[in-house]
């Protein structure tokens, strides 16, 4: 009698049209190209939702800036006397904050003009001015790329697990495992140059993978929900690292200080943009990781099995795929990638272990993978975007005093909005899009679309698969989407007479 859970949890690609098991029903009416249809498709498109999600998130962010601003509050005090003051103050606060965010993350016009003048003063002209000035102006972008590097790699790891139907919340733990391993090999072991770096990277991959595989093993062997076990493993790793940083093995001579010695020079990732910038070769690894994600999920037999198990574990099992081994495999690969991110973070950016080495990368990676719909291109863009937000936020914090936590709020809001496209469309007055043939307001008409993006299993290209690990995820299937296809109708009749017995 567990038929409810099985029935409702059955993952059917959201947004896809017809109902399994309806003999003779027509396919979805997609692909006709009347202009009304085209308009609807644009309105339905994910791009619009993404853009509007950012707009709304930044609008709410602006509100927060205003609430927090003393000047605005002061001007509000005499609002009725001189309302213009309030508006001026509002505008000044918001524009200053967001300008700084841009300056801090992508292009710094001040740096550009300062350098340009310097060079001009020293007699340069033409390209001799432009190039160094551009370099100075783009310094923030280099920092953004540096921050994006581990984020993208970790998100790729998350994407592997999401698309395989596993909710890996264990980014922090796996990151710590990878970072610790890479860091330890980096400062405690003596190896020849290139080999040392290689050893560090491999250590990160293996340790991250093994740490991730623990959750996979618990799921495969005992059916333990990976959501819970990865959360627990995060904290275990955090405290284990905290403990390690009190031991002589990890702190070296200075045991009072909970940081490791710097990793040796030949274990560091080479810098890409000269000594003045932190940008390092990890960026290339990030690009490789993204390519690997594409290959793994679209071209490899391993990824084929991962996806099959993620979408319908039972069918995969019947087709001779070992579901348990797949769960361990998924978590190993995911953990290995996240571990690599930790390794890259230590070997390239931080260059030493601290208790807070993982920062919020583990959780940010989840949001980036969601935002990027777990696809390679999406992750690349989302990773850069989030990195830009956080470097920009840091600059904004120092220059304006607006706490960087604002960025965290904006990021969370973006993901929430993108997870619920019907909400975004409702906010911009496009409600009818979700139920073109139904004049009556019904709140949940486009639900599966919501879960498609929320479900994170989505492939950027094909609209998505929602992960449905046992007992945890259960996005509604297209069965329940009256707007986009034929209905359950008599499907109980039809498909699952056997189901209840």
């Amino acid at each position: 009698m567990s038929e409810t859970s099985a029935g409702e949890a059955r993952p059917v690609a959201p947004g896809t049209a017809a109902q399994p098991g309806d003999p003779g029903t027509p396919g979805a009416p997609e692909g006709s190209a009347s202009s009304a249809d085209l308009a609807r498709r644009i309105a339905r498109s994910n791009l619009l939702v993404v853009v509007m999600a950012f707009v709304f998130a930044f609008l709410i962010g602006s509100l927060l800036i205003l609430v927090a601003s003393t000047e605005v509050r002061a001007a509000l005090g005499y609002f009725f006397a001189r309302p213009s003051d309030t508006f001026v103050a509002c505008w000044r606060e918001i524009s200053a904050a967001y300008t700084d965010m841009f300056r801090g993350s992508i292009f710094d016009p001040n740096g550009f003009s300062r350098t340009a003048e310097d060079v001009r003063e020293r007699g340069g002209s033409g390209l001799y001015v432009l190039l160094p000035a551009l370099a100075a102006g783009l310094t923030p972008l280099l920092e953004t790329l540096t921050v994006a590097t581990p984020l993208i790699i970790a998100s790729v790891g998350m994407a592997v697990s999401f698309r395989s139907g596993l909710f890996n919340i264990g980014g922090t733990g796996q990151l710590i495992a990878g970072a610790t391993a890479a860091g330890y090999v980096g400062f405690a072991v003596d190896l020849p140059p290139v080999i040392h770096l290689l050893a560090c990277v491999i250590a990160a991959i293996v340790c991250g993978g093994l740490y991730g595989a623990i959750a996979g093993f618990l799921k495969a062997r005992f059916g333990a929900s990976e959501v819970i076990s990865t959360i627990m493993l995060n904290w275990i790793a955090t405290y284990a690292l905290a403990y390690a940083l009190t031991t002589a093995a990890f702190t070296g001579a200075n045991r009072a200080q909970p940081t490791s010695p710097s990793i040796s020079a030949d274990a560091r990732l080479p810098l890409l943009a000269g000594e003045d910038h932190r940008l390092h070769a990890g960026l290339l690894l990030a690009v490789l990781a993204v390519v690997f994600l594409w290959w793994l999920m679209n071209r490899s037999t391993l990824g084929f099995r991962f996806r099959a198990v993620g979408s319908n574990p039972r069918a995969a099992e019947v087709a001779g795929i070992d579901v348990g081994r797949s769960a361990i495999g998924v978590m190993f690969v995911a953990g290995a990638l996240v571990g690599l991110a930790g390794g890259v973070h230590v070997l390239g950016t931080e260059q030493r272990l601290t208790g807070s080495i993982a920062g919020s990368i583990g959780f940010d990676a989840i949001t980036v993978a969601l935002l990027g719909r777990s696809g390679p291109v999406g992750i690349l863009l989302a990773g850069l975007l989030f990195a830009a937000l956080s470097t920009g936020g840091r600059f904004m914090e120092t220059s304006q005093g607006t706490p960087i936590d604002l960025v965290q709020v904006i990021q969370a809001l973006v993901v929430l909005f993108i997870a619920a496209p019907p909400m975004v469309r409702a906010l911009i007055g496009l409600r009818s899009v979700d139920r073109p043939r139904d004049p009556r307001p019904r709140r949940r008409a486009a639900a599966p679309a919501a879960s498609a993006s929320a479900g994170a299993g989505a492939d950027a290209a094909d609209g998505g698969t929602a992960p449905t690990p046992e007992g945890t995820a259960a996005p509604p299937s297209s069965e329940e989407d009256p707007a986009s296809g034929p209905p359950p109708a008599d499907s109980p009749d039809d498909t699952s007479k056997g189901g209840t017995a």
Partner: protein, 523 residues
């Protein structure tokens, strides 16, 4: 209570599930709603029960129009429903399930004593043997169905809808259920009895409405001719038999000895199975659902972790091997529930067609897939099996049930096989496709492949098989030739051994439908 549906229309997207359906159920009659799978019967009843909102038409109770915004309204109006998938909360007790939604309370707390009394009272009236404190998930299916009936009756339902109630029952239990239905009718309850089984309709219905593709295509009296009803139901004259050559059997290919499955709790859903299948022969396995057929096919496929005994395929022992190894031995498998056991909904048609072959040449290696070969295979299969799909790159979940089943069959039959196991090979498939798939199965047999067909539809087993094994409570009661008396098979499905069944039939025992034949109601 008189129930009247007028012009009920229900549209899902572009699909019209119910097209202006009229239906009148008089007080104290058993009204049978007859239709194929997917005809729209359940949709109609869900509209009646307030689960779906109709897009047109109205419902009248005792000539007064009513509107239901939810099942609660329908229940208050006196409509009760026994769902095909029982609406029982598994970890609750019988009493808790019965009172859920209209719980008696005393002093703010649940009054389970009153609930138990209600259960006992109704149980006694109908001679049910139900412990109010039993936990529902521990009860057998038949007993769970009775809990559903008590649940509806305890709410004083005057119209009772039974949605495919016999799918999970043995012929004997079905007869008992029919007795209950008659008793209820005689007490004045109107009953809507949804089914696609002609025999049951003729046995119990007072009036019959036939639905096809969302429309009422006719009403009939139970005295109507059976083939006439059948053709009404499926839309054209149906040839109820399949022409096939006699089997040219070869050596014994599959030898099963003492195959059993023991669950962790110590129960044995499959016990001591012995059977042989020869090359070029179809062995049909009949039986009421839930008598070990699933476990048998799963044990053969290595999907049962706790299987023991011996399965030899051309001399190779299969028990203890993994599913993958068994598939690599050349075993083709069509699972009984395609959505659940066979298809990956987010995969394309092409990907689903090579799901079990994805790492073998030419479709892939241990490392990478070969997309060109995969597409070529898909293109060929889609053409050969006439799978109606926009493209081989469409998600398989966009296909209709019949086409999905063709994908599953194409996958199983798409290579050189040493054994084919097909479970419910045509479940939920339209009539035209059934014939096609049946022909494919026979063709596979004629190529010399040993074939096992498992089906709970006795007709299908009889049509396809060269020999028939009947399963009951996890064991094979006997293996008989395909031309065995239908009554004997029916009794065996109810637990008689071959000899006992033959004796009983000789002595005049009849199950419902043959009684009807005797009474001249079935031609």
């Amino acid at each position: 209570m008189k129930l009247e549906l007028q012009g009920i229309t229900k549209v899902f997207g572009t699909f019209v599930a119910n097209d202006s359906i009229d239906l009148v159920v008089s007080p104290g009659e058993i009204h049978s709603l007859l239709g194929e799978n997917g005809a729209g019967k359940s949709t109609l009843m869900n509209v009646l029960y307030g689960l779906y909102r109709p897009d047109g038409g109205q419902i009248l109770l005792d000539d007064r129009p009513v509107r239901f915004s939810g099942p609660g309204d329908a229940m208050r109006a006196g409509i009760g429903m026994v769902h095909q998938h029982f609406m029982l909360v598994p970890p609750f007790t019988v009493a808790e399930n019965v009172v859920l939604g209209h719980e008696p309370t005393s002093g703010g707390l649940l009054d389970l004593g009153a609930a138990r009394r209600a259960v006992r009272e109704i149980s006694e009236r109908f001679g049910f043997d139900l412990d109010p404190d039993a936990v529902v998930e521990d009860l057998p299916v038949g007993a769970q169905q009775r809990v559903e009936i008590i649940k509806a009756l305890s709410r004083r339902a005057e119209v009772l809808v039974l949605d495919e109630p016999t799918a999970v029952l043995t012929p004997q239990e079905t007869d008992e259920l029919m007795g209950i239905m008659r008793q209820l009718r005689d007490e004045g309850t109107s009953i809507v009895f949804i089914t696609h089984k002609l025999r049951e309709v003729k046995a119990v219905a007072d009036r019959i409405t036939v639905i096809r593709r969302g429309k009422v295509v006719g009403t009939a009296e139970p005295t109507a001719d059976q083939t006439e009803l059948a053709s009404l139901m499926v839309g054209r004259a149906v040839e109820l038999s399949l022409v096939k050559e006699p089997a040219r059997t070869g050596d014994v290919a599959l030898e099963v000895r003492g195959l059993g499955v023991t669950d962790e709790d110590g129960s044995a859903p499959l016990d001591g199975i012995d059977l042989e299948v020869r090359e070029g022969e179809i062995l049909g396995i009949a039986g009421v659902q839930g008598n070990g057929q699933t476990e048998l096919t799963e044990a053969l496929l290595g999907l049962q972790k706790n299987a023991h005994g011996s399965v030899r395929l051309h001399g190779t022992e299969l028990v203890g091997r993994t599913t993958r190894q068994i598939l690599d031995e050349g075993v083709g498998f069509v699972p009984e529930d395609r959505t659940h056991d066979a298809l990956v909904p987010d995969f394309t048609v092409a990907e689903n067609l090579i799901l079990d072959q994805h790492r073998r040449a030419p479709f892939g290696t241990g490392l990478a897939l070969h997309p060109a070969a995969i597409r070529a295979r898909a293109t060929a299969d889609v053409a050969e099996y006439d799978v109606r799909t926009g493209s081989i790159d469409d998600h398989v979940s966009t296909l209709s049930g019949g086409n999905q089943q063709k994908v599953v069959m194409a996958r199983a039959l798409g290579r050189e096989l040493s054994l084919l196991i097909a479970s419910q090979p045509t479940r939920g498939v339209d009539v035209g496709s059934i014939e096609f798939l049946h022909r494919r199965l026979i063709a596979e047999r004629d190529r010399g492949t040993p074939v096992i067909i498992v089906s709970t539809e006795l007709d299908e087993v009889i049509q396809l098989s060269d020999r028939i094994a009947v399963m009951y409570r996890g064991a094979i009661l006997g293996i008989v030739p395909a031309d065995e008396d239908r009554d004997v098979l029916g009794l065996m499905m109810a637990g008689y051994t071959v000899e006992a069944a033959r004796e009983a039939v000789a002595a005049g025992a009849r199950t419902t439908d043959t009684q009807l034949v005797d009474e001249g109601e079935i031609a």
